[in-house]
Amino acid sequence: MIKTITVIGSGLMGSAIAAHFTNCGCKVNLLDILSKKNSNRNILAEKSIKKLLKIKPSPITLKSNIKNIIPGNIDDDLEIINESDWIIEAIVENLEIKQKLYEKIEKIMKKDLIISSNTSTIPISKLTKGRNDIFKKNFLITHFFNPPRYLKLLEIVCSEKTNQVIKEKIINFSDFYLGKSIIETKDTPGFIGNRIGIFWIERAAIEAINHNLSVEEADILIKNIFNVPKTGVFGLIDIVGLDLIPTVVKSLLENIPKNDLYKKLHKKPEIFDFMISNKFYGRKAESGFYKLVNKDGGKIKYSLNLQTKKYESSHKALIPNFNLIKKNLKQFLEIENKYSFYCRRVLLDILYYVLLIYEEISSDIISIDTAMKDGFGWKLGPFEIIDILGSDWIKNELQKEGLALPKLLNLIENKIFYKVDNNEIKYFDFIQNKYKKIKRGNGIILLSDIKKVKKPIKKISTASLWDIDDGITVFEIHSKSNTLDINTLEFLNQMIDLVSSSYKAMIIYNEGEFFSAGANLGEAMFLGNIGLESELDKILTRGQEVFTKLKYSNFPVVAAPFNLTLGGACEIVLQSNYVQAHIESYIGLPEAALGILPAWGGCKEMLSRFKNNKSIPKGPMPAILKAFEVIGSAKVSSSAHEAIQFGFLKKTDGITMNRNRLLYDAKVKALELIKDYKQPKKNNYNLPGITGFSAMKLYIDNLRSSGQISKHDQYVGETIAHVLSGGTTDINKQVDEEYISKLEKNAISKLFKKNLTIERIEHILETGKYLRN
């Protein structure tokens, strides 16, 4: 078991890797070079650790994790490596310096110390040159992608000497505890990710200049052609840091084969030199291809004009026939304008390059697709893109340019790389020239795989119910932003009955971008606006009824949230019988920020959670105050760990580090729960009523008079306080869950009528941002 590790090199990558190890409970020694100028000999590592707290998005799942990183320096503390289970070298990308460090390590290391390098381009053969056999046996390359907490890819490179047991140990640990998606690559320059990724970035940038596109135009095209969330190419360079690219490029060019296509196509855009000499490195330098300038209290976005090299205010790109990209990519590429020419050029170059070098860099196509998806954020890998375009398209285009057809294109049957055959998903294995079943490995179930070979038990336009064997079902939401509207609630209601009679358990899970943004506020707003309050009322009532039914059904319900899990979705989590959460779960009740309150059982559940929480003092008020703090300040967790602190998850709920394992873990839990399952008992509450309300009101009034909250915040706060204190009850009366549900419903109906609330909801629906009014 790996419990303590040492990271050498506390730069951007080293410290972020160290941080991510603390997320799974490891202790980390972080060593950098000795500071000779400063009396504090560990100053470099210490500074890096402090910086971790400022990085956004945060590299750590809880602030307190930082305590588990112990700073040191190589001169004084190198011995500490022998107290570690694994050391990761993440120092400067310079072969000589790395070799010198390894020499030092070799001299003092214990025999079973695992050593890996985070090099991104240097082959393992060069790294271990001159080392003894023990070192070589224990050495491998573990190449993380930045930021390591969020980018799933881990490339592992072993030499012939690397001990297979060690390799398996690292792979297993990285998979289960670091949540990595691991590919084993050959010992070639840049491995798989950077070999293709750097080529892609450079091609996309150069061709954007050649085709006279603005950075916005290039970004929106690249974003939609390769489905890279958010950034596009120039946005990505801004995140990576333009200054880092030339080193990687240089190292790649020095090491790739002589006749490699990249050598032929490589060009250093003049604008890169211009930007580097002006320190326009990207986000870290606060200017890159984009920059934000503070003006009149807001931020204005500027972008660099690639032709004039001057910043201009940024405009949203307008691409003619833009919708075609998603509807019919091939047709889009046939249009005769610079946008389509650009996309065709970049796509063709990348796909052609992959078809030339696949054998050199990988032993299967899956690793290549995985590398681009999990390391560069593509939604589809290169072979998956070819499947969509059709290999005939590539053949045709290559022929037009007079290029020889890569042999792989002629080998594949039916012109596709992946296919479903006999209810099995298969890929084309180019070594044996045949289609082979994709093996997901133990402990991985993907709904996307199931969807390829099965039909849902029941389906509506916004949700489906799936049979995942052994009596377990998955309730999948697939509406826009996975929001919950009245039809979805009614469907869930019917599915509860169905599972109750014909299956054993229900897992609420999906594989969208995020779990769910909560209730469909747009629907509610619209119905309110056209005066159909009765329909609005129905949404509220049905939500409460269905979620209560979910909680007290005769079978276990396991929620498996990941990423955003807000409002109504959080209330599903709160009312499930068990939760198996991905570590990257951003769970919360942001209702108060929208001028409303949780009314599908959120208040009710938070009250009973804190009442039963042993770390909260006894007595009526502490639990209520805690619930008030969480709901009133619209808290959203930044990780599953934080969700436990906020009370959205129980300590007994499960956390899965690897996204691909989430459904399997949830299913294991469901199978465990169905053995003599008993539904939970209903909660009763003794709430303080008006006296408790007064205490909270005092607190709210203070916030208001000190100017920390607005008048409407105050009103919303008091409404929440009214519900949490139990309305007009008193401490001697016992009230039930229905009583609180009613309070929730009345309160939200009242808030929904307020103009300032409506304004907030309108604003978030239109801009995605919260309005403070």
Binding site: H315, L318, F526, G528, N529, I530, G531, E535, L765, E766
Partner: protein, 600 residues
């Protein structure tokens, strides 16, 4: 016999005194006028329209405009009428006092425009276009331009035009080709051809100020690269005196179906000097501000045409003796009964009457909201007034102009052969009214504006201004015994509209063609319910006035309302059925099938 028209002053005063009075006081206070003043202004306007404009309506149509050597001459009497109009300050009625206007309420302006449209729609276009130009300049131009142009426009000494359409672009202004090249002195040189320019050239005013949409050389493609320019026929000196002629001319005027006394011009700009109005590339935004007002006023034209059609047809129906009443003769002293005795004639007359009176109230209320939005301090009240106006604009424009067409056609029908021949001037009404559903955005476009823009805007917030107002009214009055013949019908149609709105919103999210397919029916339904609400309010008011009703005005209102609620409002039912059945029957109809009946 000629066209018959007396301004409906009693009805307008009813609206001022009884219908909008609950909220109009705020407006009076703000602009230092009293209700009495408004009524006097209406009386004066009525005289102008009945005595000056109506007599030259038919003759103007017959004579038309003429173009000779680039100069357009207007029909006989128009110059004198325009002189009378401007000298009495009618052009500047709702213009800001700062620029020499009278800053009178917008709703009043709507009454005036209605009278002008009834009495002479062609004439109304000259000052109407000037008003549009004034609004566009006031809301977008720099102070220098405002100070130079607005006083002259407000006095009517100069007139204005709007230049949008080009041969290759009508509804889709993104295709604009007219080019504006920047000059060193900050001005622009404009080159291009604009068509369908109402009153682009004429002999009524001393100068004509063209507002022209054009593109600058490096502007973004499409609608986002369009800017608005002011291009005077004669370039004024900085003191407002006239300088040299600009290089633009009227190339030809269109021969057209109606509004023959107003010239529809082809305008050539050949390096004409102009100045930017508002921000570069934001021409459409500037246009839209103006377009809302212009669209409401086209709706008013529809109403005006319906009113004169009603009065003419009523006059004829009372005078024309043909046949006998089926229930025994009514006028035994005469050879035959007047055709008014026939049920179909009565039904048609009441159809026009109740639609015009209902629309007039809806427009007055909407005009009042324009005024309220201008002065209201409370953010949400102001927003609500603005929302109401934005929502109602396509509904009023489209429905009122359709009513204008239907009413004038019904008038011809009542006149029979005498309507079809030219002598009575009734066929002219049909021809004049026919343009209104087309210009300022066709009625089809209005319906798309309602369903595609106004409905989803701010998640339905615009709808709220209507639905919540009616809902509150229903809640307040559902047990009002007086309204027992009104409320159930209003509630039924209102509920239908709610259902259909929710249906279209949901369907539209799945397939925009479904929403677009239902748009025209939906707009009509919305208009019918809105007018149903107006009639219910009329009835509520009238019941309280019955004890002092010597002429039976209020009694008549109640009876008219009953006709509307039982005969016209129920059409919401068939419209609902049609909408709920979806748009597939035409959206998915095979293109090939259209011509199978005659293709060889």
């Amino acid at each position: 016999m000629v066209q018959i028209y007396k301004a409906p002053l009693k009805d307008m005063k009813f609206l001022i005194r009884d219908f909008i009075n609950s909220e109009s006081n705020k407006i009076y206070k703000n602009s230092n006028i009293e209700q009495n003043d408004l009524e006097m202004i209406l009386d004066e306007a009525a005289k102008l329209c009945e005595e000056i404009l109506l007599p030259i309506n038919q003759s103007g149509d017959i004579e038309g405009c003429k173009l000779e050597h680039g100069i357009v001459s207007t029909p006989k009497g128009f110059k004198e009428a325009y002189k009378n109009f401007t000298e009495n300050g009618w052009q500047g009625v709702s213009v800001n006092e700062k620029y020499g206007g009278q800053n009178l309420p917008y709703f009043l302006n709507m009454f005036l425009d209605e009278m002008i449209s009834s009495s002479n729609m062609s004439f109304g276009l000259y000052p109407g276009l000037t008003s549009n130009a004034i609004e566009a300049i006031e809301k977008n131009a720099s102070e220098d331009i405002k100070n130079l142009y607005l006083p002259k426009l407000a006095s009517g000494e100069w007139s204005g035009t709007m230049n949008l359409t080009e041969p290759q672009c009508g509804t889709d202004l993104g295709l604009t080709k007219t080019m504006a090249t920047p000059q060193k002195d900050g001005s622009y040189k404009l080159t291009g051809t604009k068509i369908f320019i109402t009153c682009g050239e004429h002999d009524l005013s001393k100068n004509i100020i063209h507002l022209v949409l054009a593109k600058t050389p490096n502007a973004p493609k499409g609608i986002k690269g369009i800017s608005l320019f002011i291009v005077p026929k004669i370039i004024p000196n900085s003191d407002g005196t006239l300088g040299e002629n600009n290089s633009l001319e009227c190339g030809s005027i269109e021969k057209k179906m109606g509004i023959n006394a107003s010239p529809t011009c082809v305008m050539h700009y050949n390096e004409a000097t102009g100045w930017l109005i508002g921000d570069l590339n934001k021409g459409m935004k500037a246009m839209f501000i103006m377009m809302n007002g212009a669209r409401l006023m086209v709706g008013v034209q529809g109403l005006g045409m319906a009113e004169i059609a009603y009065q003419s047809a009523l006059h004829y129906a009372k005078e024309r003796l043909q046949g006998r009443s089926l229930n025994g003769s009514k006028s035994l002293d005469k050879q035959a009964d007047p055709i008014l005795v026939h049920p179909e004639i009565r039904k048609n007359l009441l159809k026009i009457k109740t639609l015009t009176e209902g629309l007039r109230g809806l427009m007055a209320w909407t005009g009042l909201q324009v005024d309220i939005a201008k002065i209201e301090k409370d953010k949400f009240n102001k927003q609500n007034a603005d929302d109401w106006v934005s929502l109602m604009t396509p509904i009023i424009k489209s429905f009122a102009t359709d009513v204008g067409c239907e009413a004038t056609n019904l008038a011809v029908q009542i006149y029979g052969g005498h309507g079809y021949i030219k002598d009575h001037g009734i066929e002219q009404l049909v021809r004049d009214a026919r343009i209104a559903p087309i210009y300022e955005g066709t009625n089809g476009i209005q319906a798309l504006d309602l369903v595609g823009r106004k409905m989803p805007m701010h998640t339905g917030r615009l709808l709220k201004s209507f639905f919540h107002e009616v809902k509150e009214y229903i809640e307040k009055n559902s047990f009002n015994y007086n309204l027992k013949d009104f409320m159930p019908l209003l509630i039924k149609s209102y509920t239908r509209l709610q259902q259909v709105t929710a249906f279209i919103a949901a369907e539209g999210l799945k397939d925009p063609d479904e929403a677009a397919g239902a748009a025209v029916d939906y707009l009509k339904m919305f208009a019918l319910v809105s007018i149903g609400y107006v009639w219910t309010k009329y009835a509520e008011i009238s019941f309280n006035k019955l004890n002092n009703d010597p002429e039976g005005f209020y009694k008549a209102k109640i009876e008219s309302g009953k006709y509307y609620m039982t005969k016209l409002l129920p059409e919401t039912g068939s419209l609902m059925s049609s909408i709920l059945s979806g748009a597939k029957s035409y959206n998915k109809y095979n293109d090939e099938y259209f011509d199978l009946g005659f293709k060889i």
